[in-house]
Amino acid sequence: MSGHVHKDYTGAKFGMWLFLFTEVLLFGGLFILYSVYLARYPQAFVAGGAQLNVWFGGANTLILLTSSLMVATSITALRRGATSLCLGLLGGTVACAALFLVNKFFEWSAKIGHGIYPGSAHLKELPPGEMVFFNIYYLTTGLHGIHVVIGAIVLTWTMVFIKTGRVNAHDWVILENAGLYWHLVDLIWIFIFPLYYLILH
């Protein structure tokens, strides 16, 4: 193709937002599940939440908020022509994603070590409300973890596009959309953290 290539920035971005809305409804379903069972088993949910480690959850909150800052500033860097800064910020974001997953690995390992995992003999002995709490906890944080992995892959892929010049200071919609996806991952965690880790009372 020669000459002018039509680019629809608004269309591309709007498409991404529509996709993000379906993600919000997907996680929204899990939050509805959470809230219905919280209303049914308030005591058991408090007991369950007390067994989660606030430090793991808090550290991962810090990691995701910081990674979101890096993605947001990477767009400014790219548009100002600071390509290597942009790549550094995106590399930092991917590193944050890895750190998040390492944290999650240790957190889940400790829980599984205590016999708390879906279908475990120990979980079946717990009161029904606590069993439900941990099942939804694994489902929600697991699905969120998959999103972290996908986000890291998408951002790495975007970094390749920036290196090859396909994404640049004048054509950055791919970075914009990859960034939107990453911010959604952060948004979901903003709700997961208080609902699962902080329901101490």
Binding site: F21, I32, S35, T76, W172, V173, F193
Partner: protein, 95 residues
């Protein structure tokens, strides 16, 4: 890319939003240690909603988007609210 090339969000804005988000995270952890009964969950949700609003408005640039984007977001949130509302309309009134 034709859209508003002049408008580049400065680093400072993002850093201020990030600092606010960190402060709100600290507040939500602090408040959770105090016993307010059933109110705790509503405070936690309120702070989480405020944090999301900041992420959406600034990090996701919704503040600078056209009305179409804002209406679409509103519609998506309204649908979610209807789902939640109808679910509880059922669950809370079961005997």
């Amino acid at each position: 890319m034709t859209e508003d090339p002049a408008h580049i969000v400065p680093y400072r804005t993002f850093i201020l939003v990030w600092l606010t988000l960190l402060a709100l995270t600290g507040i939500t952890i602090g408040v959770a240690q105090v016993h307010f009964g059933a109110l705790n969950i509503w405070i936690a949700l309120g702070i989480a909603t405020l944090k999301s609003a900041l992420v959406i408005a600034f990090f996701m640039h919704m503040k600078d988007e056209t009305t179409l984007f804002k209406l679409a977001l509103l519609a998506a949130l309204a649908i979610l609210a209807i789902f939640i509302g109808l679910t509880f309309f059922d669950v809370l009134y079961r005997s």
